[in-house]
Symmetry: C2
Subunit: 443 residues, 2 copies
């Protein structure tokens, strides 16, 4: 497996290449490096200076526009007027915390919980997906009495200390700690099988057994059901269920990380776990929840929440504040009123068929995998399933030159993630496919 350093390096700005840039861009990059230091990560060989965005489009300082097929934060469209208005109005009226009563957080809690199985009847609001997953790990530990977790070997679940420990894709030079076991991604392209669900379930069972043999009681399985950072593995719907059954039989909890697939993106339902008919014990949410306003959340069963709250207080100052609730409610309204789940299904299928047509003409495309508007395009060396990150990297930069923003994922950095705002239209799909074909044909 390539390490993350390699993958990030593929499409990361390298300061040694800044010499040809104009003075303004060089100055902005220098200011950035002076203040952000080692934590600065800019994408593209020549970074983009963004000034404005609207719907599926972003605009740079030179007035160039880019079709955004990368961004699942602005999930209902950049600067969606209904979300912006909700934020502006509420920020001008009341912004406080949940130690007081205010109506909109309860409207939001009820609207949100209505989209989940009835057993998941409690919600805790946070500010980010990282905070949500951090809290979910703690809930799992307090409820099961265990501390061992199983994750996918290329997983990313967030940036707190505890969550980084279960996010192997963040490791540059180290490996997972003793309380964590990893299992391979459900990759049927490179490792064919008749039953990917059975294989994943076996891998999870082995990982649990290995934890227990080493004296680490199992607490839970944490999975992003669209396997975003792993390279996007979607089909067949339902394959995750067997692994979840293994988890429950072992007394552990299934945490469904919906930061990536959630809020309708997979086109079949509101949540990724629903495609797999797998019942989670805890669901975590983040990125698209407030369309860019920092909102996160954890949904679970009351007894799981009680197990933690009995021993330890939890309060999140900004979590569930009235502005976050207003943004969250507006996002739910837009998803419903604009039919975005249906749109994700329809346009997702349209993009997928366009990509499959391209794949028949361009052998560099080894595989296309998708659910709704979450699509992976895997580049392989001709005639093999060997990963081809060089082509992925070329395409990312070539698409940028042609006005399309896209990123890579997967253990080898050779899978393009197609993950546009859910208001992506047919003509946006045509624009994307046409530019992708141009990039491939001109290589």
């Amino acid at each position: 497996m390539a390490n993350t350093k390699q993958i990030l390096a593929l499409n990361r700005f390298d300061a040694r290449h800044a010499e040809g840039f104009d003075a303004e861009l060089r100055s902005l990059i220098a200011r950035r490096q002076a203040t952000f230091g080692a934590s600065s990560v800019l994408v593209y060989e020549r970074p983009i200076r963004m000034v404005r965005a609207e719907g599926v489009w972003m605009f740079d300082a030179d007035g160039r526009r880019y079709l955004d097929v990368y961004n699942n934060v602005a999930s209902v469209g950049h600067c969606h007027p209904r979300v912006v208005e909700a934020i502006a109005k509420q920020a001008a009226t009341l912004n406080t915390n949940t130690r007081y009563l205010y109506d909109n957080i309860h409207d939001y809690a009820e609207r949100l919980l209505a989209t989940f199985p009835a057993a998941l009847s409690n919600v805790v609001f946070t500010c980010t997906g990282s905070e949500s997953n951090d809290f979910a790990l703690r809930l799992s530990k307090s409820f099961t009495g265990g501390r061992g977790f199983v994750v996918i070997e290329t997983a990313y679940h967030g940036n707190t200390e505890a969550v980084t420990e279960v996010s192997p894709s963040s490791f540059k030079t180290r490996s997972v700690p003793p309380h964590v076991r990893t299992v391979p991604a459900p990759d049927q392209y490179r490792h064919p099988t008749n039953d990917v669900g059975a294989r994943l379930a076996e891998d999870v069972a082995e990982a649990i057994a290995d934890l227990e043999q080493n004296g680490v009681k199992f607490a839970g399985l944490l999975v992003d059901s669209i396997f975003s950072s792993d390279g996007i593995y979607a089909d067949p719907a339902g394959f995750l269920k067997q692994a979840v059954d293994v988890v429950h039989k072992a007394g552990g909890l299934f945490i469904s990380d919906e930061v990536q697939p959630g809020f309708g993106r997979t086109g079949t339902a509101m949540w990724g776990f629903q495609r797999h008919s797998a019942e989670p014990d805890i669901v975590t949410m983040g990125k698209p929840m407030g369309n860019g306003f920092p909102v996160g959340g954890v949904v679970t069963r009351p007894e799981i929440l009680e197990s933690l709250c009995e021993t330890t207080g939890y309060f999140n100052t900004f979590g569930g504040n009235p502005v976050a609730a207003a943004a969250g409610l507006a996002v739910l309204d837009v998803i419903e009123d604009e039919g975005l789940i249906e749109n994700a299904k329809e346009i997702g299928a349209y993009v997928r068929s366009g990509l499959q047509a391209l794949a028949s003409r361009y052998p560099a495309i080894g595989d296309v995998r998708s659910a709704g508007l979450f699509i992976g395009i895997e580049f392989s060396l001709p005639g093999t399933t060997d990963p081809d990150p060089a082509t992925a990297s070329y395409v990312i930069n070539a698409l940028k030159e042609r006005g399309v923003l896209i990123g890579a994922a997967g253990a080898y950095g050779n899978v393009l993630k197609v993950r546009p705002p859910l208001c992506f239209a047919r003509d946006n799909a045509d624009f994307f496919i046409e530019r992708l074909e141009a990039a491939l044909s001109e290589r």
Copy 2:
């Protein structure tokens, strides 16, 4: 030491008391309990249904107004028009992440860093104080190679798993883990000393020695320099420096948690550590940074940041987004343009002298401690220094009935925290003192 459960219970809504409430309030509380479950924490015997806030005032659903002397999130004033406008304008224009370039985050980074000692030249943006402290712990561990931390025994630093471990005030039934040592708060009222700084430094030295004797290498001291959750210990300015010298001599880092004292509240400078002439290695920020918009940050030296980034990737999706930057810049502008640090000093001194006058007439007030607009009012049993949480609890509810919002802190829950928005004016101070006197006189 009383535990947190006791303290929180003092001013926490108890559902058994809801029977006398009107139908609307009962219904809202029932909806709340059904969705928030065990995590619901409402303040006041009869919770307040807030609908609007402006400057130092909050308004409930019945049109009653409350002077807010509790809230340091809306630090430059509730719904400050300049902050609201900055958020609204930026949210309508561009909200993306720091993998692209955009100007305002660099304007903000530079403005913010200019308020710190030159050695602290790097900043990492997060969304909350909890994320900031979580990251600071990781930085300290990677830079020192240690994992042991020293904190105050009643400290609160946030809600992630790692930060909860160094937040003893969150523990209801458990104690600190083996990698953490606690030292007593610098309490000169209950435990008089000629040199509180020397005593704190000795306690810290002992704690470090104890860690090392138990095979835990020391990583750092994490302190809120106004000791907010501990009961507010402010004087003499400078007393923290000796402890910090001990920390540095032992090879550890000093993390200054500025979530509470930061952004001018202590009236002498922008940051609490400046009152103590103590040079931090890492500074963490949260609550007041975006006046309610979820913004946090960590400031440190480049080599400390490098030590972590070499081994582990860190990226924060919402951290430093353009809307957060706009809110943060507006807060800095308001602090400067409205002279809020000077105001904190002047009005803080005015409130303090008013409270001292009250103390001479009401023996229940055992001590008044303050820096700027962060003031602690300690209630003691007559003629003793024995804590009197019952009076604190009475006053909190009596002040609410008289239109003033206030909360308690400290190991015994007997210290009122006076922590209003920094635009608190002389007539607001008069209103507060007058209502406090009314509450005390009518007991």
